[in-house]
Amino acid sequence: MRGAAIVTGAAGGIGKAICRRLGEDGFHVVAVDLVAELDSVVADLEADGLAATPVVADLISVDGRALVADSVAGTGLPLTALINNAGITRDARLVNLSEDDFAAVIEVNLAAPYELSRMLVPTMAAGSIVNISSRSYLGSFGQFNYAMSKGGLVGLTRALALQAAPAVRVNAVAPGLIATEMSMAIPEEQLSKMIGSIPLGRMGDPSEVADLVGFLCSEKSSYLTGEVIVIGGGRSLAQ
């Protein structure tokens, strides 16, 4: 075993793929989410002989974060990877964005990874943290709250990279349009238009994001820290 790897937002499309990638790479996956579907995610991993522990926890609460730490201790393995993947959207144009929707996104997408990292980094003797940001951190119409949270996560990545070096490396991944349940809910016409603006001509697959995360958690990326890697099919270049 390469140690324990925490994956938050483990029941979502990208989260599931990351759990599988890290499980196949030899980590004991501590899969964290709020929803009951988590059990089936872990059952699928275990059916393939991969080591995983489900943790239903609300990462906004102190108790929820403590439960995650206890679950890592329960594996008997050192924590060597932390993937801050959990995130939500509450989209609206800035002039229509409510205080509640602003606060909810900032809490889940930024406060939770900040507090979780603050609690766990001192326990890590070595390893890698990967924060799942978004291409939206470059600016995204109708996503003032989401873009701010994902930009904040980039800032957290840079500061932690400096603080945790040399023992722990910290990087961010910023996915563009990925084929998850969330993006499949976009109206077909709008989705086609979005895909048309991607030079590679398609949505990304969650496994492609997971492969990048696997790389960042491996020795193959041993000289990388403090970076933001956009995985978006070239969308950041096209009109």
Partner: protein, 145 residues
């Protein structure tokens, strides 16, 4: 013009720089403290920017170069980088109205009158939008935020 600035020397220079009547200048706090402070800082930026967007009026966020690169710790970095992404998003939303939204990054030794001059320029109707202007030389050869 609304100037939100907790640093006296910068606030004085900004107030005397002949700013346009309407707009927002939001100078990020140097020491937001723990999460509570970060959350309050981002929430205040949201509320004030929403008010400016409703007019619509131009916006300049002022952050630290060091914080964009995470040099002074996670709290300051989350605020600075969060504001930069928020400015890019607000710029997109106000582009049709031709109202600029920009970010200005300064160093500890930046002359307040220089900051005020650049701020005023970035609030002008013909200013660029969605841009990051970094004063000083500490960013040269370093990461592009």
């Amino acid at each position: 013009m609304l100037i939100r600035c907790h640093r006296q020397e910068l606030a004085a220079a900004l107030a005397s720089a002949g700013m346009p009547d309407a707009g927002l200048v939001f100078v990020a706090s140097d020491q937001p403290g723990g999460w509570a402070g970060v959350g309050e800082e981002l929430a205040e930026a949201f509320r004030l920017t929403k008010e400016a967007a409703a007019l619509p009026a131009p916006v300049v966020y002022v952050v630290s170069n060091d914080d964009l690169l995470g040099r002074r710790g996670p709290e300051q970095a989350m605020v600075a980088c969060g504001l930069l992404s928020a400015a890019r998003t607000a710029a997109l939303e106000l582009a049709k109205a031709r109202v600029p939204v920009n970010t200005l990054a300064i160093e500890s030794g930046t002359d307040p009158t220089v900051l005020a001059g650049w701020t005023r320029a970035l609030l002008e109707p013909d200013a660029p939008t969605g841009e990051l202007v970094r004063l000083g030389t500490g960013h040269l050869g370093k990461a592009l935020p």
